[in-house]
């Protein structure tokens, strides 16, 4: 597992608050036993109903790797299929006003940092990417500094998530298995585990 110190790339702006995971990955595409190929169904219904007006159907953002969203992105269902589809579509970071906790947790485990910043900064960044799609966005996990063209602002993420990226410990299974005797000790002290 590698350290994730910073991410740089072109942006893709997706405007709107409360974009839920049903919209990111409609439920019928969850009828699978693997995550492979989910990128093909990312925002499928929104793309269809918007008739080509959706950023994920817009050629200008084909090579984008940084998704720029608004508030409460990824709310609703806990389906990891949503961030899996995003990662498999080549997105390396998401910058937005705020994220649902479950989405942020699911994304972090996949090595996809989610940066939060105020509405005005995000709006400016979205406008910049819309007018200059080939601008490079640089996002530092370490400092939270976001830079693109003439724009710069500081974004944040939960400290423990940030540290996990910096230490290369964002996929926690090995850490959780590391001191397994401690786990048995805790289990052994829980009345409902021991039968009261």
């Amino acid at each position: 597992m590698s350290r994730i110190l910073s991410v740089a790339g072109r942006g893709i702006p997706l405007r709107g608050n409360d974009i839920d995971t049903d919209r990111i990955m409609p439920a019928r595409f969850l009828k699978v036993v693997s995550f492979e190929g989910l990128e093909h169904h990312l925002f499928e219904d929104d793309r269809r109903t918007n008739r080509g007006q959706h950023p994920f159907g817009d050629m200008r953002y084909n090579d984008a790797s940084i998704l720029v969203v608004n508030a409460n992105f990824g709310c609703g269902s806990s389906r990891e299929h949503a961030p899996q589809g995003i990662v498999r579509a080549g997105i390396k970071a998401v910058i937005g006003e705020s994220f649902s906790e479950i989405f942020l947790g699911n994304s972090s485990v996949l090595g996809l940092p989610c940066f939060s910043a105020d509405h005005a900064s995000i709006d400016k960044l979205q406008t910049l990417v819309e007018t200059t799609p080939d601008v490079t966005i640089e996002a530092s996990v370490e400092t939270g500094a976001i830079k693109a063209g003439a724009i710069s602002f500081t974004a944040s993420m939960p400290a423990s998530v940030r540290d996990a990226f910096l230490q290369g410990k964002w996929d926690p299974t090995m850490m959780l298995l590391d001191k397994f005797d401690d786990v048995r000790d805790v289990a052994g002290q829980l009345p409902y585990v021991t039968g009261f």
Partner: protein, 462 residues
């Protein structure tokens, strides 16, 4: 020191602080289903890991099961493949599975409590955001993703950040025709769909104290719709009475010890909270959503707000400042982990009895579990629905998220007792959902349009 249930339970399950600063938390009960687990088992196999505590995971099949015929193999090839995968995974790793041919099968958040698996003081997780339901018993219960399902299988632990606690007091008596669903929709409307971010909601007050376990589950279920990852109610005699005698509940000498421990982990009277909110129950009306998130709702006598969100109005085809009452519906759906329990069916049956579903309405009654269906049938309730023109179906998640054949078509409007009115949620990319209580769905099914259930209740003996 005075403390909340959340902190007491969290501390009892805390293993250590990880290098990242997150807490390693022990999971007491892990529930799994066919949609969010197959990839997790594959990851376990790829790494050559074992399932650490197979006896602390319980599986069922709910999301993709058809509710018309549950004969195997399912007609839907992918539904069958997912079912076979779960059967194989559970066999290989020694996990208890309730398949659709067992009397215990049903929606994971209905069967956990029903079997007595869900108990106070536990940490409970499942790859499903409505896991918050189990908080009704005084547990810390939350939804997780598939990689976290893998972590729990491998280690029985999660890497998590603690939540803050917001106490929500609801006081006073609910009017006839007003239910737990209306209370939680009102809370979400008031605090917003982003309002609970970073919080667990602790529900209390005289209204909640008087609620049955079914009603408390409805409240906790929808905590996530207000962005609170967990919601809970402190355990009390109502909780203990519900649990006593259930299959997995403690019995004999263990029962009294369990009750003593359960009482001890309740929030102390003088516990301090990160935030407090209170609501007046008598002021709550039957509530209906008009938009595309569960916070966009109004009381049945209110109009859609004048400043209503334009995107939501455009999607729904509604106008600002118009009444929600009288909105024509095409489909009525009673069921889901929010409102698919016996008391929901009983209450809807009171409304439906002796009436007929409007001609243009397709009405579905989908029990939350086979046990719920069997009990309802024993009481003859199925016949009440069938006589009125409802389809009485088998147990499953059904049209709440439409991963099985039960789907809206085109721009149909559905009066639904489920939890989410997101764009496309009920299976049609342009389908429209109006969330409301099961009794309100029953009233809408009969009237053919959104109606005020209180007027129909006046004619019904209590």
């Amino acid at each position: 020191m005075a403390d909340t249930l959340f902190h007491k339970v969290w501390n009892a399950h805390r293993v250590r602080t990880l290098q990242s600063g997150q807490t390693q938390l022990f999971v007491g009960l892990h529930l799994i289903h066919e949609v969010t687990s197959p990839q997790a088992f594959d990851m376990i196999r790829q790494h050559g890991w074992k399932v650490a505590f197979p006896e602390r995971t319980v599986a069922t099949i709910d999301h993709i099961v058809p509710t018309s015929s549950q004969r195997r193999p399912f007609l839907d090839v992918m539904a069958e493949e997912m079912t076979v995968a779960l059967e194989k995974n559970c066999r290989e790793f020694g996990i208890k599975l309730y398949t659709p041919d067992t009397a215990e099968q049903g929606i994971v958040h209905v069967i956990g409590p029903q079997l007595g698996l869900t108990q106070p003081g536990m940490t409970i997780v499942c790859g499903d955001s409505h896991t918050s339901t189990h908080g009704a018993f005084g547990a810390i219960a939350m939804g997780i993703g598939t990689s976290q399902v893998r972590d729990v299988l491998a280690s029985q632990c999660l890497a998590l950040e603690p939540l803050k606690v917001r106490r929500i007091d609801v006081n006073g008596k609910l009017s006839p025709g007003v239910y737990a669903k209306d209370v939680i929709l009102t809370i979400i409307r008031k605090l917003g769909v982003q309002g609970g971010a970073g919080f667990a909601y602790e529900y209390g007050g005289t209204t909640v104290d008087r609620m049955s376990m079914d009603e408390r589950m409805t409240m906790c279920n929808m905590s996530i719709e207000g962005a609170a990852r967990a919601g809970y109610v402190n355990p009390d005699d109502t909780t203990f009475d519900y649990l006593k005698g259930r299959q997995y509940a403690p019995a004999g000498a263990a029962w009294d010890k369990a009750v003593a421990w359960w009482r001890s982990i309740s929030s102390d009277k003088n516990a301090s909270y990160d935030d407090r909110v209170s609501l007046d129950a008598p002021s709550i009306e039957p509530t209906v959503t008009w938009g595309i998130n569960p916070g966009q709702s109004v009381g049945i006598t209110e109009r859609i707000p004048a400043n209503a969100d334009a995107e939501a109005l455009a999607y729904m085809g509604f106008d600002a400042s118009t009444p929600i009452r009288g909105t024509r519906i095409d489909v009525a759906f009673i069921g889901s982990c929010t409102n698919g329990r016996l008391s929901d069916i009983e209450e809807a049956a009171r409304i439906v009895r002796g009436h007929t579903v409007a001609k243009h309405v397709k009405a579905l009654m989908v029990p939350g579990s086979r046990a719920v269906a069997i009990e309802a049938e024993k009481r003859g309730l199925h016949q009440v629905f069938i006589d009125a023109g409802f389809e009485w179906r088998g147990a499953g998640c059904s049209m709440c998220l439409a991963m099985n054949p039960d789907k809206l078509e085109g721009r149909q409007v559905c009066a639904s007792s489920s939890n989410r009115n997101f764009k496309g949620r009920q299976g049609s990319p342009t389908g429209r959902t109006l969330l409301m209580s099961p009794a309100m769905v029953a009233a809408a099914a009969i009237a053919g349009e959104v109606a005020d259930v209180r007027e129909m209740l006046e004619a019904v003996p209590a």
